[in-house]
């Protein structure tokens, strides 16, 4: 059946013996209730010396019914190839099928129709050439693989964010709304530099969120405004990719890594005043030791010290910690201006 449709499209596309209009693609499957933009290329080959063609509008038709029009003229010029004076030319347009056209077809009990362009040829005896695209209407999941909506944003859900210089971990996200199934190919780009390529199969229509890579991360080296894009190369997406901007402030993002020494991560300690040790950093003048029952929660106890170790006092041990229980600890470091610029990882320990 599919071959029949392609063949029918091919036969429809041949209008006269003097010229041939081939459309690429010759048939498309669109979703019933979402507007999609489809790139259609008309390749015209004229045998009678035509030099140009103009189509005032495109029409959606089925049998005797006109389901809608696109009032957008399209013109192309043909290059004459000697000695036979065969004219060859092509033109591409983005056809967005209005939802109303699909609804009208549905009301007529149709699930397929054609998109037609009639070109008035010039530079030759008056003639018209017609290009046709077969359009089949189906559900979003069964439609051709196509992108219907893109939204680019940062963690604040906006397409704009302000960060500090050399701030790590800046990420951009793109919500991709698509129809059908296929292989998505695209790349992340910042100020024209490609950061990484994305190759991913998408299945069954719907939406997916893709985040920018951790390495290489969005660069925060240069102060000022930077432009992020996610450029899609497959499926062919006719709209311009959305852009998001981030501003890198001149103030440096300062975070020094503090290495924890003991107790080792995951160790079991006697229920006694334990000594917690970490690597001393020259630029840090004060440390904050924090103890947690669970990662990410508020600390159950904390202590400020100037030296790179802390002995858990007996009264605190008895009042705050329980034998047989698991705890987490980490260190923050402060510079002479009391700016929090140091951070360790989080280690776990258990009191026997």
């Amino acid at each position: 059946m599919c071959l029949f449709v392609i063949l029918a499209g091919f036969l429809f596309s041949i209008q006269t013996g003097e010229a041939v209009v081939n459309t690429s693609p010759s048939s498309i499957k669109i979703p019933r209730s979402t507007q999609t933009a489809n790139r259609v290329t008309y390749n015209i080959r004229s045998l009678d010396g035509c030099t140009a063609g103009v189509s005032p509008r495109g029409e959606f038709i089925s049998g005797g019914y006109n389901l809608g029009i696109i009032n957008s003229p399209l013109s192309l010029s043909l290059n004459l190839i000697l000695p036979d004076e065969i004219g060859i030319g092509s033109v591409t347009e983005t056809v967005t099928v209005p939802i109303a056209v699909v609804k009208r077809a549905e009301q007529l009990g149709l699930n397929r129709f054609q998109y037609q362009r009639v070109f008035n040829m010039t530079g030759c005896p008056p003639s018209t050439e017609t290009g046709l695209v077969q359009i089949a209407v189906t559900t979003e999941a069964a439609a051709d693989f196509s992108i219907t909506r893109l939204q680019l944003y940062f963690e604040n859900h906006r397409a704009e964010v302000t960060v500090k210089k050399n701030q790590p971990g800046l990420k951009a996200f793109i919500d991709i709304r698509f129809t059908g199934s296929g292989l998505l190919k695209g790349y992340w780009e910042v100020d024209g530099r490609i950061l990484s390529y994305v190759d991913r199969h998408l299945v069954s229509g719907g939406s997916v969120t893709i985040e920018s890579p951790e390495i290489p991360a969005l660069p925060t080296l240069d102060t000022g405004t930077h432009l992020v894009r996610f450029v899609i190369t497959n499926p062919i997406h006719s709209s311009l990719p959305p852009e998001a901007i981030y501003f890198v402030a001149a103030e440096e993002f300062e975070k020094r890594t503090i290495q924890l020494i003991s107790p080792k991560d995951g160790s079991a300690e006697n229920y006694l005043p334990v000594t917690f040790r970490w690597e001393e950093r020259e630029e840090l003048t004060m440390y904050l030791v924090e103890f947690f029952e669970e990662k990410g929660q508020k600390p159950i106890f904390s202590a400020y010290v100037k030296r790179p170790f802390y002995v858990l006092p007996s009264p605190v041990l008895k009042n705050t910690f329980l034998a047989g229980k698991r705890y987490f600890w980490s260190i923050k470091g402060f510079d002479p201006d009391n700016k929090d610029i140091g951070q360790s990882s989080v280690f776990q320990f258990t009191f026997k």
């Binding site: 599919c2 499957k29 019933r32 209730s33 979402t34 507007q35 939802i99 609804k103 149709l110 699930n111 559900t139 999941a141 069964a142 219907t148 909506r149 893109l150 604040n156 859900h157 906006r158 397409a159 704009e160 302000t162 050399n166 919500d175 199934s181 292989l183 190919k185 024209g192 530099r193 490609i194 990484s196 390529y197 190759d199 199969h201 299945v203 069954s204 719907g206 939406s207 390495i215 290489p216 660069p219 080296l221 102060t223 000022g224 709209s239 901007i245 501003f247 001149a250 440096e252 890594t257 995951g266 004060m286 904050l288 106890f301 202590a303 400020y304 100037k306 802390y310 006092p313 402060f334």
Partner: protein, 655 residues
Amino acid sequence: MQKINFSKLKWMGCSIFILLLSLMFPLYSIYAQSNDVADSPIQLIAPEEGCLNISKKAFLKVAIKMPFDPQKLLVLFDGADISGILDITPEGFEHKATSLLTPGSHTLSVTITPQEGQEIKREFTFSTCQSKVFEEIYSSNEITALYEKNIAKSEDFPTPSWRVESNLASQSKLTKGPWELKFNTNLRYFNQHLPPAPPPDIGFNLANYLFQLNYGGERISFLAEQGDLVIDETANTVSGLARRGGHLVFQSKDLHLQLRTFDVKSEQLFGFNGGLGFGANPAEHIMGVSGDITFFSERTRFRTIYARGGEEVDSFGISSAAGERKGDVWGFVWATDIFKQKLITEAEYDISRFDGDTSDEIPAKRDHAYRGKVSGIVDKYSYEALYEYMGPDYEVIGNPCLQKDRQGFTLKGGANYQFHVLNLAFSRYNDNVKKDDLYPRLYTTEGTLNYTLSKFQSLPIMLSYTRSTLRSKNEPDDLFSTKTTTDMTTGSISYIKGPWTLGFQVNYSFQNDLTDTDMDTTTVTYVFIPAYTLDDLSISPSFSYNRSRAHATGVFTDTYTPTLDVRGDLFKKKITYGFGATYSILRASDDSFEQDTLSTNFNVSYLLAKNLWGFLNPSIGIRGLYNRTDDRVLHDATDEFAFYLVLQASMPFIL
């Protein structure tokens, strides 16, 4: 004459005596305690105990009138041990608080161990506010100023000869009693030699702002927000809507009731365009009201929402094929959490009316959606079961990622052991929920397995496998037949040791089209990341290789992408530098394209002064870029470069 009952009198006397004693005892206790306090060897000198002190950074001074061991001194300030940062004096100790004190009550607990004898402990309380009128008032600001001058460039490279940018980042807060006022913003100035492609526009731009007024009373609370907001209501109505506008929230703790209303511009805004965001025109705004009422100590919650509005075509950060549209939606949610997260239930029913293209004569359509979810966490295990239905015309303004015309279920289970984390998911959905004969019905079945091994802290391992199958039924003819399976496998392993992080990741994916069109595709990607990170030097290279293959044509494309990012500083941050580069090599097996692309940029800057006049950090530097594109099929190579002189300054200041 009445006879006096001495026995009664005796009991009365005893009772009065006991009563007097019971009255006297607390008075004596207070007297004795005050004597104890006066006699205590630990005395708070500053701040005065119990009184209201106006101080942003408190000064603590405690006198200890007996010999004590400083090593065994334990001082807890609001529960945090500050013994290690005290200044021990002959009289006791002093401490200047290191950070801004939150307004309110503070506790200082001092425990000393005399050289002979038992521990002596005393607690003091005092309260602070940060100004005479307001308890808390501050404004933290930072100005960035940048001037960039192009000093050399390749011919025809479209770059402005100069550029000026400035940004004021401001965070302000004011608190008095239950009232709190916050204002955060980024105000930007932009100008350059060439006309820009906005945003940003030439001139001043309000990149973002948020104004919040909060009243937190004991019985009622109130929040008014204006600026760049995120509105989150329910999954099937307005969800994650980040726009500019206004938001009001009223809460009555007695009635267990919360009422909200919002009005935002449907277009995403940048700068001063669009004003304050809210307005009455439903074609350009999204507005709504919602309410929550809770029962049984907030274990059960009922929420209802009504939202309406219209959306235009593309806006900042958004690209869409859809036209102008409008609609409204009602949503009702019933949620319970009776067994402390062990059994959480949620049911939602929604009705929408939506016009997907306001320019045509087709009227808006009404449809509905519903879902039910049961989930919970029991010890190491988690589970979730979800059933959902979306009508074929169910669409919502402000939530364009909702997938309409769909019904099915998802089952999830997880186990989180000490070193092993396992997650399983299974789902089955179909479209064409009304079984319209014009269209096929497509069944999508998907199973996912994720496993993470963290037994070796420096060697985390992750594996993931997903299989999806698509099968169509009730096809009107063969054209609509779909039969596809997709297998996706991902594995990653990292080695983390000191400054080194070595990561290796493999993604393999195969989509098997089982219909006559046989449009199979395979893609496989290998990524290797050896990163070295110190505080003053970070080197992050990455190497990735991808091969994608279209089986029908037999053509495969290879993409090789090495990248390198280096940043660091020298001489205590006097000099900072950075370098970034990507080299990508694209090859097609049919020689249809063969392209190499190189993108590089670098910068070096020198800090001219640190905290000049107490706040100014100016620096001078140079930045540059070099790009090369070489199309080996068309034999077309382009090179472009540019170098800029950069003057910049950061100016942080607190008011």
